[in-house]
Symmetry: C2
Subunit: 473 residues, 2 copies
């Protein structure tokens, strides 16, 4: 199934018109219907076409979210929660129109409990805002998807990123949350206990549900202590294969790497140009270690030995913050650096994740496929988890480009599934991967998702047209 086969959602014109009137009256200037604002609140990060909502409400409290959802529920109008707009699979598009709830004003820290290593926040806070707030406590929120995403959005897509190999994903780091359901009722999924066996795991049900089961209005998050020492560096390898073998050995040895990122040769070329790095244009691993002074030195040295065994090196590492920050800035800017490989292009990011025993094989086959299809598509990856991204650079106005990219993505996702992996390690399904979920989870599994959705949102108002194909679609 091709990426362009997005799920159509029928527009309820009468309902939308009514709700626009209600919300304008209720929220005044905090409810906007201008085209520019509406389009900013649709999907804007990849070539997936923009599908704007009909209005944008800037909510300031959970009660306001509840009011908006109730109005939409009464008139069967779609509701799409909007965090920072950094999702990559069309998650915030409004295929049937409706109301976007902009959460950016709900960005307060409600509580920090340093003894319990947790905090409670509103969903619109971004991870930079949260970590700035926490700085004086000696704690930080570790999940880092690269973009300065909102915590609500990160929870909704079950995001992770560069240091999930050590700190886990949003699945592991949300202790509980509150959400407004499709009928306007509110649920709180749990208490602040670190673990619980009290019934169905509603927290995990909401995390990753992409706004289709409820609108998150607060999150209680696990925090980590800022490590006493951090070391990091870059290690070149002759081939991607050898780099992957070094990753497997590192994980198997139990070295508690905080980050272990693969950058392939083409991506290195882009980053060297963009971020003025002084490294060879060969596959590299970017690493970071967290621990005591002695611990991070020991970890770095152990990794260096492993790398040498697999033909890599020299592994140059440092504990100096400025040097490390430059490296990770370059890694985080990989997306922008890549676009420079084909000026004027847009990127389509893939997101497969496979068991690490299959990682080298998966990347090598993927590189061969890129060459065969004549694409420009650098690779970066959170390889400690077996997750990597190819950024396919394309001209979204050229149908041939789109066709080639879709062919590539279909092959890549099929390859990942064949290797017992997933088409999405961290970006979510949204619209872009709707064509792959049934192959991955099976029709029975997807039917279970549909049943849960129908039970909790019978009128399909919460972020409709996402995750699975319409029946018969």
């Amino acid at each position: 199934m091709a990426l362009k086969d997005l799920n159509a959602v029928e527009r309820n014109e009468a309902g939308i018109a009514t709700v626009l009137g209600i919300l304008k009256q209720r929220f005044g200037e905090r409810f906007q219907t201008g085209r520019a604002i509406r389009e900013q609140h649709a999907h804007t990060t990849t070539y997936i076409p923009v599908q704007a909502p009909d209005g944008v409400a800037f909510a300031e409290t959970a009660e306001e979210v509840q009011e908006i959802v109730r109005a939409c529920a009464e008139h069967r109008v779609p509701v799409i929660a909007f965090g920072a707009g950094t999702s990559l699979e069309g998650a915030v598009n409004a295929p049937g129109g409706g109301i976007s709830i902009d959460m950016s004003r709900m960005n307060r820290v409600i509580a920090v409990n340093p003894q319990d290593l947790d905090c409670t926040v509103e969903p619109g806070i971004t991870r930079h805002e949260l970590n700035d707030y926490l700085r004086d406590t000696g704690l930080f929120f570790p999940i880092d998807p690269g973009a300065n995403a909102s915590l609500g959005g990160m929870a909704a897509t079950r995001a992770s990123g560069t240091n999930a190999v050590r700190y886990g994903t949003m699945r592991d780091n949300v202790l509980s949350l509150t959400a407004v359901l499709a009928d306007g009722r509110t649920i709180t999924t749990g208490k602040r206990a670190k673990k619980s066996s009290a019934g169905y795991d509603l927290t995990r049900l909401m995390v990753g549900s992409e706004g289709t089961l409820g609108v998150i209005t607060s999150l209680t998050l696990k925090l980590a202590g800022i490590p006493q020492a951090i070391s990091g560096g870059v290690c070149p390898f002759p081939t991607v294969d050898q780099a992957c073998e070094a990753v497997i050995a590192t994980i198997q040895m139990g070295i508690p790497v905080a980050r272990i990122e693969l950058v392939n040769a083409l991506q290195m070329r882009a980053m060297i140009a963009y971020s003025k790095l002084d490294y060879p244009e060969s596959p590299c691993l970017f690493l970071e270690f967290h621990g005591s002074d002695a611990g991070v030195a020991e970890q770095a040295e152990s990794f260096g030995e492993i790398a040498a065994e697999f033909g890599g090196g020299p592994f140059i590492w440092t504990s100096v913050a400025e040097e490390r920050n430059k490296l990770w800035k370059a890694r985080h800017d990989a997306y922008w650096a890549s676009l420079g490989l084909r000026p004027g292009s847009r990127g389509l990011s893939t997101d497969v994740c496979v068991p690490i025993s299959r990682l080298a094989e998966c990347i090598v086959e993927t590189e061969a496929d890129i060459a065969e299809l004549g694409l420009i598509a650098p690779i970066v990856g959170h390889v400690g988890d077996g997750n990597f991204h190819t950024l396919v650079l394309m001209d979204p106005a050229d149908p041939r480009d789109i066709e080639l990219a879709e062919e590539f993505v279909a092959r890549l996702n099929a390859r990942a599934l064949r290797m017992d992996g997933t088409c999405t390690g961290e970006h979510g399904i949204g619209q872009g991967k709707i064509g792959f979920i049934e192959e991955e989870i099976g029709t029975n599994g997807v039917d279970v998702m549909r049943s849960i959705k129908a039970a909790l949102d019978p009128d399909n108002i919460l972020n409709p047209g996402k995750i699975w194909p319409a029946r018969g679609g």
Copy 2:
């Protein structure tokens, strides 16, 4: 609400009679209806009354489980999956009768993937069987609830235990699973990728659902490397309060303890008598550290310093396996040791879990309550997670004993909720805690659970009468 208010489930006599005939014909000697076997397959571990199923089927394959569920679905007869029978809240009782599926013959290891640190097993395998099987691989499955439970049962109750503080709970260690749904269809909840954002988290929905949404037929589990070195020991404290303060400091310092268990003075007395230990009858922490030789020594020494700061010690630790094993055998035998405090009694185990900042206060208040009510109720706890158990010793034939115990439990659970904790850290709700879930999750949250259950099991055949009260109940 009192513990004795179990959820009644109406018996479907005609359906049961039909299914008994079908299964007898199909499974012959592998389908048993004798009273002794049926009662062994009901709840037998606490004072909660036995409610036996009408027949016990010894399934050998997933297809057989599917056949049994289909027969029961057609005739609307309850189906209760049975692992090792070690659950503590009446989870395997059959309040409306029906068929128990004994999983003990489905105990095969299907695959071990050492490079990926995972394995796939059938649900009836016990954790001892699994770890015996894995011994030569250098890997182990870390979750240790004390009892030699089955992995399927551990998943169904979202179990954890002594080393969850380091390795997480079943929530964190099940990568995916297959299950037979109420209508006999099978789902596989995911692939072997370490993380995924592919739709609703069906794995986590099934983990902790206590057999009410599906019968688990296989599990893919994360494994850990057997640590190079293990050290451990016991540290006495003058008061429980000081012991708890030392725990908080240890967690905040980021010392990666593998186990940190509190044993209160009364429990120590029981264990000293039962396991012939040479320790004072004062509150003690039992600890274990996993890592390199240098690492475990460093961790033990750091903990010793923290303990001394809070008035504890001496902390005597060892890396000698025999000595450590004796300690942990004593800790695991705490339940049996406790029963010796009141010969002929049965135990009722509580399971609250609170944020660790409230742990000392919670335990101190609980000990005062025990004294006030005149109970014999020793305390052990997985205090790194804020989870502790009191074992209330009672004569189940004495209504006054039951009344007192229920009063105590109600106060304890209310205390935990007031402290933002849960009534169950790891045992599940089953029948025993049905009266507390609405207070904990709220009626809206419990309604969401009910809606999901109704969507997936409209005839309520999978382990009925568990987790939440019947409406109006």
